[in-house]
């Protein structure tokens, strides 16, 4: 287990170093998420600065899901350029370590983007971040983990296919719809005029269950699906 975590950390650290050097994923993902929020803000916030009730939560999760998909596609594109994914699979580390490493690096990137996205949504849609900050943090973290856990598996599976850019959202969104819905509902419960933390807690529990199931399944299936 320690060997798996050590190898996963090596891969994640390598991805982070590469990203810090070229910042390609951070810039494109952030730009896309911010543009998405700004467009929705123009549509859903009136001249008096009042937003449609419930819109902020939906827009937050649309921005997370769409920008996350963009990051997912590119993170494995890098491994494809010089067939380095093959090199990782040829190394003596256990295959789940490759999955965990890629997932960890992707999560760090998504969390960094979400720090900006959540703040921007709160500002544009007058949603209070101070009502239940830990619950909101839990929802965003658990939802992102669930989305990225499934996405990393699918992106790795599709990395060698020519039609991967089309297939990734087609496979990913139907499976991650429960995550997005739970995230939206939980966040709505926090952003509502009268916050319902019990309801938000229930959605958070659902997200955590989803994370546990999909991380387990992904670890179990990653090795076989990556074999040719």
């Amino acid at each position: 287990m320690i060997d798996v975590l050590r190898a996963a950390w090596l891969i994640a650290r390598k991805d982070i170093v590469v990203e810090i050097r070229n910042r390609e994923l951070a810039y494109t993902t952030l730009f896309f998420a911010v543009a998405c929020i700004l467009v929705f803000a123009v549509a859903f916030v009136d001249d008096m600065g009042h937003a449609i009730p419930g819109a902020a939560a939906g827009i937050l999760w649309v921005a997370i899901a769409f920008s996350g998909t963009l990051a997912l596609g590119r993170t494995f594109e890098r491994e494809r350029q010089s067939e380095t994914l093959r090199a990782l699979l040829l190394s003596p580390i256990e295959r789940p370590a490759v999955y965990l490493g890629k997932l960890a690096a992707l999560l760090m990137l998504m969390f960094a983007v979400e720090a900006v996205v959540v703040t921007l949504v709160a500002t544009m849609f007058q949603a209070s971040l101070g009502r239940a900050p830990w619950m909101l943090l839990g929802l965003v973290v658990a939802g992102t983990v669930g989305f990225a856990a499934v996405g990393t598996l699918f992106a790795a599976m599709l990395a060698r296919l020519r039609s991967r850019d089309v297939l990734l959202p087609m496979l990913l969104y139907p499976v991650t719809i429960p995550v997005v819905i739970a995230g939206v509902k939980g966040t709505q419960a926090i952003f509502a005029a009268e916050p319902n933390l019990d309801l938000a807690g229930m959605w958070l529990a659902m997200l955590i269950s989803f994370d546990a199931v999909f991380i387990t399944l992904s670890l179990w299936t990653f090795g076989p699906v990556m074999s040719e």
Partner: protein, 245 residues
């Protein structure tokens, strides 16, 4: 140079045997009942036209591609018995070079060295950079390297963990005369130290003087070309003309 990787016993892995190995991709047959063996200190060449199955065969030997039928034995043990540890004893230089362009030469070797748990890593990385004649470019990103420099670095990456079996796919591609000679010398050193080398190539002139044995592939079927009887290129052409049953 010691040839055994971390945790290896030399006796554990001195030969590789393929028994009736076939590989199908849907209805397409990439390999058909390929059987041969290769022992320590041998350089075995895989020759054959494009699409004849050379890369698939290297993929099977590297454990990346599972045979549809048949079995590969490493030191008498099937790959399933070895588990993940088997890959510690195999070094692969693919047609693509398996290098991260945004990392420096040193960082590339260090990263893969850590994945293979190479002991005394800093010294081994510096030795590898010296062998690749890239010591003065160690801190430069690989993106700025020429094809030949990348090829030399990729070879050292494949050898960093001192594998027992080295698989090379078209290793002479893109190399100038001097680099090709360096690679030839490196392969001879590996042979002298008991490493099993399997290389796919179209470079007959280099291969003729280097290879101990030659296996020719055609439409997924393999046949060994005997030594002697003229230049390798002629023997290869003759082998392709003959009927294969």
């Amino acid at each position: 140079m010691t040839t055994a990787g971390p945790g290896t016993t030399a006796a554990a892995f001195d030969d590789v045997d393929l028994h009736d190995v076939s590989r199908h991709y849907g209805r397409r047959r990439a390999l058909a009942r390929v059987t041969f063996s290769c022992g320590r200190g041998q350089i075995l060449g895989l020759l054959g036209p494009n699409g004849s199955g050379k890369s698939t065969l290297l993929g099977v030997l590297s454990t990346l591609v599972r045979p549809s039928l048949g079995e590969v034995r490493y030191g008498g043990r099937p790959s399933s018995e070895w588990g993940d540890a088997l890959r510690r004893h195999i070094g692969v230089l693919g047609h693509d070079l398996f290098l991260y362009g945004d990392l420096t030469a040193y960082e590339n070797l260090e990263f893969f060295g850590r994945l293979y748990a190479v002991p005394d890593l800093d010294r081994r990385v510096r030795d590898a950079l010296e062998a690749a004649r890239l010591t003065d470019r160690a801190s430069d990103p690989v993106n700025g390297f020429s094809r030949g420099m990348r090829q030399r670095l990729a070879l050292e990456r494949a050898l960093l963990h001192q594998p027992r079996l080295v698989l090379l796919d078209e290793p002479f591609t893109g190399l100038d005369d001097e680099s090709a000679q360096l690679l030839t010398d490196r392969l001879k050193t590996l042979r002298a130290s008991g490493v099993i080398v399997v290389l796919a190539t179209h470079d007959f002139d280099t291969a003729d003087s280097l290879l101990d044995r030659v296996v020719c592939l055609r439409e997924g079927r393999a046949r060994e070309i005997e030594r002697g009887g003229g230049p390798l290129r002629e023997r290869y052409r003759q082998a392709l003309k003959e009927s294969w049953t």
